[in-house]
Amino acid sequence: MHIPDGFIDLPTSASVGLLAISGTAVALKKARTELDDRTAPMAGLTAVFIFAVQMLNFPVAAGTSGHLLGGALATVLVGPWAASLAVTVVLGVQALLFADGGLTALGLNIFNLSIVAVLVSHICFKLAKRVLPKIRSSIPLAAAFAAFISVPVSAASFALQYAIGGTGTAPAGTVFAAMFSTHVLIGIGEALITMLTISAIISTRADLVYGWKNNKVTLEVKKA
């Protein structure tokens, strides 16, 4: 869901761009609280992994594909602030080197995928964790739920930008309905990939999963 240049007019792109810059500035400040010797490399690797998996478009419906957005995956792995920055790094590399997503649309894409998707994921993940049993195997499920919700909400965020500054002639309501329904399907793929990845990582190195570590108030120190 990378918006190319031209879909949204420049005033809207610039305004949302300012929001994206402000959000990223806050994330840069707050991410410091989440990053230590172990999580900093993990955040970098999360960006790398998201870049790679975003190349893997999967078919969803007749003639349509989708790919991971990664907001939920990153949020569960490294916490929301570092997650937002990780996704922004990916979007920057894609827009600047791969011509994937426009340059004037970069702020729109950062807003939808690094801010909206991550924020929604963070909230949904926390809510799901509260409802599910407090065991490790709940984490991939909570992550899947967050992933599933984050995709259509990000699509709705695009539809809102289209309603404000879309250059096309299609009515905003139609675009919203089409974006939302298509991305509910893509959200299922997002949920599956997120769940599988978190399951794999949590079963090998649960200590590196922010969303699980952060469950515990006190740290257990195991004596060797």
Binding site: F7, A31, D36, A47, F49, N57, S65, G66, L96, A155
Partner: protein, 102 residues
């Protein structure tokens, strides 16, 4: 961190990176080439033609290929590997910088 724990941590990081490399470098060739959700909606709702070429559409890596390399498998795979390495460099530097300042 004990030496042993540090070693196993490094092993995990390397493993994670290798998986990403394999996905971008090899598996990417098998990805669906259908338009993604947004592109499809734009096509159906008649606003796909409002898209403009990005200012970097002439990039040698544009659209996940290597300019001038005709072998599709090599072209996609190599562009993926280049992307993984660049993302790793940018990401590692950024997060290392942020961490140190804390």
């Amino acid at each position: 961190m004990t030496e042993k724990a540090e070693k196993s941590l490094k092993k995990f990081y390397v493993g994670f990176f290798v998986v990403a490399m394999a996905l971008a470098g090899v598996v990417s060739y098998y990805a669906s080439s259908h338009p993604d959700g947004l592109e499809k909606v734009a096509e159906n709702e008649g606003f796909l033609e409002t898209a403009k070429n990005s200012a970097v559409s002439g990039s040698p890596l544009a659209d996940y290929g290597i300019a001038g390399l005709d072998n599709e498998r090599l072209s996609v795979g190599l562009s993926g590997i280049v992307g993984v390495v660049i993302t790793a460099l940018v990401g590692m530097l950024l997060f290392k910088f942020l961490k140190k300042k804390s």
